[in-house]
Symmetry: C2
Subunit: 139 residues, 2 copies
């Protein structure tokens, strides 16, 4: 089972119609039909009652529907929360001299921003004496 199965199932269960669901999903009707049969086979259960009057969910289908919606919501939430966690949440100001940048600072900066994209670097090139003054002004 993959999320695709769950997404297609939820669309079909909502629309109560494979053909309509295939339109909202931008795929062809046979794809839904085949994939949902695959799902039913994997779960060893009939999920839909295919009637000309429209699709209906079996008790098993209803059960799966409840869980499926929750899973899709969780996935959205996971993506959103993870993206947020990776966003800028703090700034790090660094006073530096050009020689440090060439020797080691560049490498460190690259690693830091790669591994911690949530930290935004603000670089200030200044002579060591000015750096001390700047630090004292912060504190």
């Amino acid at each position: 089972m993959e999320l695709r199965h769950i997404r297609y199932f939820v669309a079909a269960a909502r629309e109560r119609n494979f053909t309509k669901a295939s339109h909202t999903l931008n795929i062809s009707q046979p794809v839904i039909s085949r994939l949902l049969r695959e799902l039913e086979r994997e779960l060893d259960t009939v999920l839909f009652l295919r009637q000309r009057s429209g699709l209906d969910l079996t008790p098993a289908g209803e059960t799966f529907f409840q869980h499926a919606r929750r899973i899709l919501n969780d996935c959205e939430e996971a993506v959103k929360a993870t993206k947020e966690a990776g966003h800028v949440r703090s700034k790090l100001s660094i006073g530096f001299i050009a020689t440090a940048l060439a020797s080691f600072l560049g490498d460190i900066m690259r690693k830091l921003t790669l591994e911690h994209p949530e930290i935004e670097l603000v670089m200030h090139e200044m002579p060591p004496g000015d750096q001390i003054v700047a630090l004292r002004n912060i504190i």
Copy 2:
């Protein structure tokens, strides 16, 4: 994103090692490597710190890990609950005569068991008179 991405991510996050995770998943190491990069690209975030001293999760990785475990649990739960909902939960005893079986009963039985696998049919062939007696005995 598919469940595959989440499964591989969780394995890698648990083992803190792509190679070991690939063994537990019975796939090759490059497959995990490629798929998890794909995931990071989709989420537009770095999830792992690849260090020789071992893998580590970034804050974003930790966030995704929490959600990912929950999603996989929900999936297992969904499958289990759905299978249970489709299981036999009730028996339906039907007294019948052979002619009914040939004319319509067979078709009805087929549909019923297909659409409601949770109902177990118990068929009793008996003359109409006996059917009435049997019904009275139940009530």
